[in-house]
Symmetry: C2
Subunit: 215 residues, 2 copies
């Protein structure tokens, strides 16, 4: 599951960072995170938020400091961060920043089985991806520029990073399309004939036996 943290869910990191400012109740944490779109598209997962806060409390990173009631609304339980919680926040952040963890995005998984599709279709799909990436890059750039007007760059650093990565991906996808479209990719012929004839060419075939368990 990526790690051995007592509460291992990045939502917990966001919660710690949020509640660090001042004690608050769970619904408010969610609103604040939403306002800063710490959640981005991911509409806050209510179930997870409540479980995560509960676990943070169980492990002593948050403490319940009573509850208040607003009219006849449901009671609001107020949580405060503890010293242990502050330490966890800092320590976790240190780890995330200092240590690249190999994460395998869906695209990598897709690429690893790309040969399941015929080459012309693969090329088309990559073109579609490129289009979408460019669209995203455009709108993210616009949002970032707008935010930069009243938010210090320090708080937009994740967006700068994500934008840089999107651009790098677009560039890689672009060059891959180019290789496939121009025919300069070395395995194109074998790949195409495999899909046309249904026969796995010899040079690819031997590979498919790797790791097989002897009978």
């Amino acid at each position: 599951m990526a790690g051995k943290r007592k509460v291992d869910n990045l939502l917990a990191l966001a919660v710690l960072a949020t509640v660090q400012q001042r004690p608050m109740h769970r619904y408010e944490m969610a609103s604040i995170m939403r306002a800063r779109d710490k959640d981005r598209d991911m509409n806050v997962k209510w179930g997870s938020l409540y479980t995560v806060v509960q676990n943070l409390e169980k492990h002593g990173f948050l403490e319940n400091i009573g509850s208040s009631r607003q009219g006849a609304r449901p009671e609001r339980t107020i949580y405060r961060i503890t010293d242990a919680g502050r330490r966890e926040l800092v320590d976790w952040t240190r780890e995330l920043i200092s240590t690249p963890r190999p994460e395998r995005p869906g695209f990598v998984a897709g690429l690893s089985v790309l040969a399941a599709l015929p080459p012309h279709e693969a090329t088309d799909l990559l073109r579609t991806r490129l289009g979408r990436l460019e669209e995203t890059i455009g709108s993210r750039r616009a949002v970032l520029a707008e935010a930069a007007a009243d938010v210090p760059r320090l708080f937009l650093i994740e967006d700068e990073y994500e934008l840089a990565m999107l651009e790098a991906e677009a560039s890689w996808v672009g060059s891959m399309i180019e290789e496939l479209a121009s025919g300069s990719h070395p395995d194109l012929a074998a790949w195409r004939s495999w899909h046309e004839t249904g026969e796995m060419p010899a040079e690819m075939n031997e590979l498919s036996e790797r790791g097989a368990v002897p009978d």
Copy 2:
């Protein structure tokens, strides 16, 4: 959760791709995936593999075609991919390739709370990260070069992509370190004084109230 696929776990994609070659039992799937390190460092998650195969069967993507016994070893249940399974494989691959899904790696989460650390420490941690990235890039490049000797590039495409992304990240991290070390980052002063005095500077403070729930 990323999606509404019946079996939503990328391990299932790897399983489909593997068992597509020929019917096999679960342990063999694992060995093959390991040999191709579809799993990379992540030592195959046994629990998940068995659950995933079970779910694939439940949804008709795999079918049990009996079992064989080897000596007195536990019985091996053999699975075969179905037509629906083949369709799922292709369809899923199409989606993964054509549609960028916003995934938020741990590093992004870390960056989003970077201000929790004092600037000099942040800089140090980024340097550590850069060192590790470079190390990884070196060894990945070596592994890739070696593999290229007997594996067609088509089957190394995910590695090429990952390498490109690692390089892009290293480059971004490098330039961020440069901004922080040279003092050219605009928020450095406010950031530093905040950590030294414990006082949130005015220009940052107002932001911390965004999304607050009125009392």
